[in-house]
């Protein structure tokens, strides 16, 4: 990430030469700039260079895996409010307002095991949000890869053992995996569900489509539907979001304001647990750290 302010600040003269040298070492600045900097001359160009990869290689969120808060559900609303949702007391706590460098709206979200929320905006770009304070950084994701403009997102473990890592899957023009280091998108296969959001129970990947209320277990290699569940959360043309927690799916659906419905694949029963959240939720996510069974 590089940042350009309206005015570049001037630094203390003693530090300027050393800082300029460090800048040179990393960026091979132009010759005349080098000469001025090495002579200790304070210049506007002693400011950090624009367009290096300093921040791109840094971890998006410096946090251990599966910290306590990553075991909850997070949601993002159309007003860019970012909330933590406690499924046990059905309460939303506003973490903050997303301040990503864009005027586009929010579209979908997934949460990784370190507490990074990967948020897609309506301009097709993906931003990395720290779930602890809603701070935001752009990512190197290239919008529109393989025809994927807007899509749902969700992480799933690669195997039963969490040490095997996790993969970010996206559902748009089919099912694809997205490498969160290179930001390359790999097409895996077509999806029959329609517009979908994704979540997982451990290593099993699920998609939810509000057009039909269907939750489908997907083959992670091909996108094929392997099992189908029927929920009562059907709202054609509405906003929707999807997460897993405690063995149940949590469905956020609505036209102008969202309701919360749970669906248990064990009992095949749906229940409306929050009739009106007071906001329109467009993205939800729980990490693969979320409990797989209801807490006792």
């Amino acid at each position: 990430m590089t940042r350009t302010g309206p005015k570049r600040r001037r630094r203390a003269p003693g530090l300027a030469g050393a800082l300029a040298l460090a800048t040179l070492l990393s960026s091979c600045a132009r010759g005349e700039e080098r000469a001025r900097a090495l002579a200790g001359e304070e210049t506007e160009d002693a400011a950090p260079p624009r367009g290096t990869f300093d921040d791109a290689s840094a971890p998006l969120v410096e946090a251990p895996e599966c910290a306590e808060e990553t075991a909850q559900i997070f949601v993002v609303a159309t007003d860019k409010g970012f909330y933590r949702f406690d499924p046990q007391d059905l309460a939303f706590v506003r973490v903050g307002t997303l301040g990503c460098p864009t005027t586009a709206g929010t579209f979908s979200m997934a949460i990784d095991r370190r507490g990074t929320a990967w948020v897609e905006y309506t301009d097709g770009r993906i931003y990395a949000v720290d779930t602890r304070d809603a701070t935001c950084k752009p990512t190197a994701f290239r919008p529109g890869q393989t025809g994927f403009d807007l899509f749902g997102m969700g992480f799933a473990l690669n195997g039963d053992d969490p040490k095997g890592g996790e993969t970010l899957f996206v559902a748009g023009n089919g099912l694809a995996s997205l490498d969160t280091k290179s930001f390359d998108l790999t097409f895996l296969g077509s999806l029959t569900l329609g517009r979908s959001e994704l979540t997982s129970i451990g290593s099993r990947l699920y998609a939810f489509s509000v057009d039909s209320g269907v939750v489908a277990r997907l083959n992670k290699q091909t996108g094929a539907t392997e099992a189908t569940h029927r929920t009562s959360a059907i709202a054609p043309s509405g906003a929707f979001a999807f997460a897993h927690w405690g063995g149940s799916f949590w469905l956020f659906t609505g036209q102008t304001r969202s309701r919360v419905t749970t669906y248990s694949p064990d009992t095949d029963e749906s229940a409306d647990v929050v009739a009106d959240t007071g906001m329109l939720i467009v993205g939800a996510g729980s990490s693969t750290c979320a409990p797989l069974t209801p807490p006792k």
């Binding site: 040179l24 090495l38 624009r50 007003d79 301040g99 790999t186 906001m279």
Partner: protein, 373 residues
């Protein structure tokens, strides 16, 4: 960028020496020199690294495309696997398209369609939305006589089959309590559902299906908060009344409005141009209403305006930079591919020598023979 405090003590002479080494390590040619790096000094230097013009996989320079090594053969539908290998084109009427992934053209079906016969020539020929033989997926057959409704067999819990549709008999005005039973005003004045008297429909009421029976109910978003249904009907607009916002008795705080049944603006936000915004983070209202942060907001700007604590800046996406100091074109330089801004602004590759910039580095290779200048 982190700078260690020890750098403060670096003597100028060392800085000058470092500069020479630095020059030697830059994979950049300011004078269009054919050799990218050399071992030390200038006169008599031995160059051991030369310009590389061949693209590393999966990149290629394809005819008709701008730049060198700018085509990714893994994902480019016009050059899928090799230059000129175009994936088949489809039109908007066909429910499928082709994508290029990992250098192979792949069939991508539109939602609710699938390629069940495995033939590429007829694309995604099967509708999985309502085909009982392929309901929700190829080969997923519903039981005999069971409806395939929106990609799944049968109706969801709480829904009942009416013909070829699944409906909620408890809340569907066209199928209230039974298939085809339309909820409307009773024809007979003697009907007991005229609860306020024959033909009397209080203000803001309508015949509505609720709990599978048809009766006079408040229209949305009105409510009968004073419990005088047959008198003043549903007298409160829950969508606008700040004393009854969203529900009877739910009063908004002083200064708040009631909009669409919610008290606005929420704490921490301010009303600007009809919306509730956070002045500390909103690039369109940064610090005060209407104070829009400068710079391109286009999705192709490769960056965007940022508002932090009510102050504006502009942030480039990783791999891009604003090298021309003009925010109107955003972060126009692709540091991963630009020969003139390769890896950072102003870092030129050997343009005349045809040296490509790939992944932010000017390509080099060992010289066939060491060259002494």
């Amino acid at each position: 960028m982190n700078v260690r405090p020890t750098l403060r003590a670096i003597p100028l002479v060392f800085a000058g020496l470092a500069s020479i080494v630095l020059e030697a390590s830059c994979a950049r040619s300011e004078e269009d020199r054919p050799y990218a790096t050399w071992a030390f000094g200038t006169e008599g230097a031995v160059r051991d690294v030369c310009v590389q013009t061949e693209c590393p996989a999966p990149f290629a320079t394809c005819e008709g495309e701008r730049g060198l090594c700018t085509v990714d053969l893994r994902s480019d539908v016009d050059h899928c696997g090799s230059c000129g290998a175009r994936c088949p084109r489809t039109n908007s009427r066909t429910p499928w398209s082709f994508v290029c992934s990992e250098g192979l053209c792949r069939l991508a079906c539109d939602p609710h369609y699938a390629d069940c016969n495995g033939r590429v020539d007829d694309g995604c020929e099967t509708s999985t939305w309502e085909d009982p033989a392929n309901c929700g997926g190829c080969g997923n057959a519903c039981d005999e006589g069971v409806l395939c409704w929106r990609g799944a067999c049968g109706c969801p819990n709480g829904f009942t089959r009416c013909g070829d549709d699944c409906v909620r008999l408890d809340a569907d005005n066209e199928n209230c309590g039974a298939c085809g039973s339309v909820c409307e005003a009773p024809e007979s004045d003697a009907d007991p559902r005229w609860t306020c008297g024959p033909g009397v429909e209080p203000n803001h009421t309508a015949w509505t299906c609720a709990s599978a029976s048809c009766s006079l109910q408040c229209k949305q978003p009105y409510a009968d908060c004073n419990q005088d249904f047959c008198g003043d009907g549903c007298e409160v607009d829950l969508g606008k009344d700040p004393a009854n916002c969203g529900a009877c008795g739910n009063a908004c705080a002083p200064g708040q409005r009631c909009e669409s049944g919610a008290c606005t603006c929420p704490p921490g936000t301010t009303r600007c141009a009809g919306a509730c915004v956070d002045l500390s983070t909103d690039p369109a209202h940064c610090g005060e209403c209407g104070a829009s942060c400068p710079g391109s907001t286009s999705a192709r700007a490769n960056g965007g305006p940022l508002c932090e604590d009510g102050r504006c800046s502009y942030v480039c996406s990783p791999g891009f930079a604003d090298c021309d100091d003009d925010l109107d074109d955003g972060c126009e330089a692709n540091l991963l591919q630009s020969q003139r801004h390769c890896g950072s602004c102003g870092n030129r590759c050997d343009v005349a020598g045809g040296q490509p910039c790939v992944a932010g580095t000017c390509l080099t290779k060992p010289c066939d023979e060491p060259v002494v200048r």
